[in-house]
C-alpha cells in the first residue's frame, strides 16, 4: 500500500507532465507556424492570449478546487453572475475602482454559497454544483430579465487594454495571480493543507488540519477568481448575455486536468494549468487559421484530453493489458 514503485512513478510522471505539455505546446506552435504564415504574428499571439484570459483565471481557481479533491461544474456561471454585477455597476456609472472590485466581491460571495453547501451541507461537490448550476442559471435569467447588457461604457475596456511597459494589463494580472497562487501553495501552511486535504481528508484531520476551513477557502478562492475573470470578460467584450460562461466550466476542468492536476485531489500543477489552457486555445486558434471548421474544436479538445491521459497511463505502466481489473472512483 505504501511504498509501491507505481506510486513513485506516478509522482515522477506528475512532474513530467509540465515538460510534456511544454513540448506539446512547442510542437503545436511549430506545426501551426509551418501550416499558416499568420500563426506566429504578434497580433495572432495577442489574440490567443486575449481569448485565454478568462479560462486561465477560472482554471486557476479550478486547480485549487480539484486539488482539495473537489469539483465545481458551476464556475462558468459564477463568472456570468459576476459579469452581471460588473456590467450593472458600469451602467450605474460607479467609479472604476469600485467596478473592478465588484467582480471579485460578487464572485467571493457566490463562492461562499457554493462552499457552504458543499462543506457545511456535506453534499458531494459534484452533486451540489450540479444543483447550483441550475440555480445560478435561473438567477442569471432572472437578473438579466431577457435583455442583455450590451454596448457597455468603455471605461473598463480602456483599463483592460492598457499596456503598462508594453505588456498588456491582463497578462500582468494573470502572472501576478499565478505567482501568488504559487507562493500560497508552496510557501504557506494553507498550501500544504490543501494538498494534505486533497490527498486524504481523514488523515489530514488526524494531523490537526482544519479540513473544513481549508475546503471552504478553496471554493471561496475559486469564486473570487471567477469574479476577477468576470471583470476581464466585461472589459473585453462589453457585453453580458444569457450564456456568458455557460461552457466555461467543463472547458476549465478539461484544461486543468490536461495540465496534470489530479481530479482525485492532492496534486496541483499551476504551470500545468497555464500550459493546458494555452495549448487548448492555441489549437482552437490554429485550426481556424488552417481552415478547419470551428465545429471540430470540441472533438479536438476531447481527443487531446483522452490521448494525453492514456499516454500518461501507458508511460507510468498503469494500464494492465493482460486483464481487465480495476474500475475507477
Amino acid at each position: 500500500m505504501a511504498a509501491s514503485p507505481a506510486s513513485l512513478r506516478l509522482v515522477r510522471a506528475a512532474g513530467g507532465r509540465e515538460l510534456t505539455l511544454l513540448a506539446g505546446c512547442l510542437l503545436t506552435v511549430l506545426v501551426f507556424s509551418l501550416a499558416s504564415p499568420y500563426f506566429l504574428l504578434a497580433a495572432n499571439l495577442a489574440t490567443i492570449m486575449r481569448n485565454s484570459v478568462e479560462l486561465l483565471i477560472i482554471g486557476l481557481g479550478m486547480t485549487f478546487v480539484l486539488a482539495i479533491g473537489g469539483i465545481d461544474v458551476s464556475v462558468g456561471l459564477v463568472m456570468g453572475l459576476g459579469a452581471i454585477g460588473v456590467g450593472q455597476a458600469l451602467l450605474a456609472g460607479l467609479p472604476l475602482w469600485l467596478v473592478v472590485l465588484i467582480g471579485p466581491l460578487c464572485g467571493t460571495l457566490i463562492g461562499a454559497i457554493t462552499g457552504s453547501v458543499i462543506v457545511f451541507g456535506r453534499i458531494p461537490a459534484i452533486v451540489a454544483t450540479i444543483g447550483l448550476l441550475g440555480i445560478y442559471r435561473t438567477a442569471i435569467y432572472a437578473l438579466l430579465g431577457g435583455s442583455w447588457l450590451s454596448g457597455l461604457p468603455t471605461g473598463l475596456t480602456t483599463l483592460v487594454r492598457m499596456t503598462p511597459a508594453g505588456v498588456p494589463l491582463p497578462v500582468i494580472v494573470i502572472l501576478l495571480l499565478y505567482l501568488l497562487a504559487y507562493l500560497l501553495l508552496r510557501w504557506t501552511p494553507f498550501g500544504l493543507h490543501i494538498l494534505a486535504v486533497g490527498q486524504d481528508e481523514a488523515r489530514a484531520r488526524l494531523a490537526g488540519v482544519a479540513v473544513r476551513r481549508v475546503r471552504f477557502l478553496a471554493y471561496l478562492a475559486s469564486g473570487c477568481l471567477c469574479g476577477i475573470a468576470a471583470v476581464s470578460y466585461v472589459g473585453t467584450y462589453r457585453n453580458v448575455e444569457m450564456t456568458t460562461g455557460a461552457s466555461m466550466s467543463l472547458d476549465a476542468i478539461a484544461a486543468v486536468v490536461l495540465g496534470g492536476t489530479s481530479i482525485l485531489g492532492g496534486r496541483a500543477s499551476l504551470l500545468g494549468t497555464l500550459l493546458g489552457v494555452v495549448l487548448l486555445r492555441m489549437l482552437v486558434n490554429g485550426f481556424t487559421l488552417i481552415g478547419v471548421p470551428s465545429l471540430w474544436q470540441s472533438v479536438v479538445t476531447g481527443v487531446l484530453l483522452l490521448a494525453a491521459l492514456i499516454a500518461e497511463n501507458l508511460v507510468s505502466g498503469q494500464i494492465p493489458w493482460h486483464r481487465l481489473r480495476r474500475g475507477a472512483a
Binding site: I71, V73, V117, G121, R122, I123, P124, I126, V127, A128, I130, G131, L132, L133, G134, I135, Y136, R137, T138, A139, Y141, A142, L250, I253, A254, V257, I263, L264, P293, L295, W296, Q297, S298, V299, V300, T301, G302, V303, L305, L306, L309, I310, N313, Q318, I319, P320, W321, R323, L324, R325, R326, G327, A328, A329
Partner: protein, 315 residues
C-alpha cells in the same frame, strides 16, 4: 424508514403530491389526460439515459457524462449509414449497435486504460457531441422511413408507444436484476465496497465494463426514439442530457458514491423533473425557473438526507 432508499422514494412521492397540488390549485385544467401523456412522452429519452447512468453510479463506476453526446452521435451515425445505403429496416438494430459501441469505448477508457470515469467521459462527451455536430455541420439528417414514426409519436393503451415498449420493460428488467439476481447483488456490493467485492471474487472490472455498454445501449435506444419521434437525426438531440440525467439519478436517491439506491426512484425523479417542467410551462412560467427549482430540490433532498443523521449523531 430505516431503509434510506424507501426514505427517498417517500420524499419523491411527497414532492410529487406537493407539486401536483400547487399546480391543480392554480390551474385545475392541468388535470387532463393529454397532459399526463405528454409528460410520459417527454420522459422516455431522459428515463432511458438516466437508467444507464443510475446503474453505473450504483456499481461505483462513477458517472457517465458522455450520455448526451452518445445519443446525438448515435442518431447521426445511424441516419448517415442509412443515407449511405444501409437498408432502413436496419435502423433499430443500427442504433442499438452504435450506442453499444460508443458505450463500450467509455468502458475501454475507464476499465482498460484506467482513466477516471469523470475525466474519460468528459473527453468522450466533447468528442461524441463535437463529432455529431462536425459530421453534419449542424444540419439534421433526414430519411427516417414512415413506418417508424407511429411508434415514436403514437400511443398504445393511452401510453406513448415508446414509453410502453422501452422505458417500462427496461426499468422492470433493471429492477428485477438488481433485486433478484446475483448480478444485481454484485452491482450493489461493489458500489458499496469495491475492495471487499474484489476480495470475494466479484469481477468488478468486467461488470462495470458491461454496464458502460448497457449505458451506451440505452443511449442508443433513446436515439432511436428521437429518430422515430422527429423523423430525422438531430446532431443536438442529446444536449444537456448529461446534467439532466445526473440530476434525476441523484434526486432519485442514488448515492453518488454508489451502492445505495434503486432504479424506481430514478424513474420517479425523471417524471418529477419532466412533470415540473410541463407544469411550469402550462402556467406559462419561463422554463428557466425549472432549472433552478430542480437544482434547489436536488440540494434540499441531499440536505434532508444529512439532517436526521447529523441530529442522531449529536445525541
Amino acid at each position: 424508514m430505516k431503509n434510506p432508499h424507501h426514505r427517498s422514494l417517500l420524499l419523491l412521492a411527497t414532492l410529487w403530491l406537493v407539486m401536483l397540488l400547487i399546480f391543480v390549485l392554480i390551474r385545475p385544467a392541468i388535470l387532463q389526460l393529454s397532459m399526463a401523456e405528454s409528460v410520459l412522452h417527454f420522459s422516455s429519452m431522459l428515463a432511458l439515459v438516466g437508467l444507464g447512468q443510475a446503474l453505473l453510479i450504483l456499481s461505483g463506476a462513477g458517472m457517465d457524462i458522455s450520455v448526451g453526446g452518445m445519443v446525438s452521435l448515435t442518431a447521426i451515425l445511424t441516419m448517415m449509414a442509412v443515407q449511405a445505403g444501409v437498408p432502413a429496416a436496419l435502423i433499430p438494430l443500427l442504433a442499438l449497435v452504435i450506442g453499444l459501441c460508443l458505450g463500450l469505448v467509455n468502458g475501454v477508457l475507464v476499465i482498460s486504460c484506467r482513466l477516471l470515469s469523470l475525466i474519460a467521459t468528459l473527453g468522450t462527451m466533447f468528442a461524441y457531441g463535437g463529432l455529431a455536430l462536425a459530421l453534419t455541420g449542424g444540419a439534421t439528417v433526414s430519411g427516417v422511413p414512415g413506418w417508424l414514426l407511429p411508434w415514436g409519436r403514437g400511443t398504445l393503451l393511452g401510453i406513448p408507444a415508446h414509453f410502453l415498449t422501452t422505458v417500462m420493460p427496461a426499468y422492470l428488467i433493471a429492477a428485477a436484476v438488481l433485486a433478484l439476481t446475483p448480478l444485481g447483488r454484485w452491482i450493489l456490493a461493489m458500489g458499496n465496497n469495491e475492495r471487499s467485492a474484489r476480495l470475494v471474487g466479484i469481477p468488478v472490472g468486467r461488470i462495470r465494463f458491461i454496464l458502460y455498454g448497457v449505458s451506451g445501449l440505452l443511449s442508443g435506444l433513446a436515439a432511436l426514439i428521437s429518430l422515430a419521434w422527429f423523423g430525422s437525426g438531430r446532431p443536438d438531440i442529446g444536449t444537456n442530457m448529461e446534467l439532466e440525467s445526473l440530476a434525476a439519478v441523484l434526486l432519485g436517491g442514488v448515492a453518488i458514491a454508489g451502492g445505495r439506491g434503486g432504479v424506481g426512484g430514478v424513474l420517479a425523479a425523471v417524471l418529477l423533473v419532466v412533470g415540473l417542467q410541463a407544469g411550469l410551462q402550462y402556467l406559462n412560467i419561463s422554463s428557466s425557473w425549472q432549472l433552478g427549482v430542480v437544482g434547489l430540490l436536488l440540494i434540499l433532498a441531499l440536505l434532508s438526507d444529512r439532517l436526521p443523521w447529523r441530529f442522531a449523531k449529536r445525541v
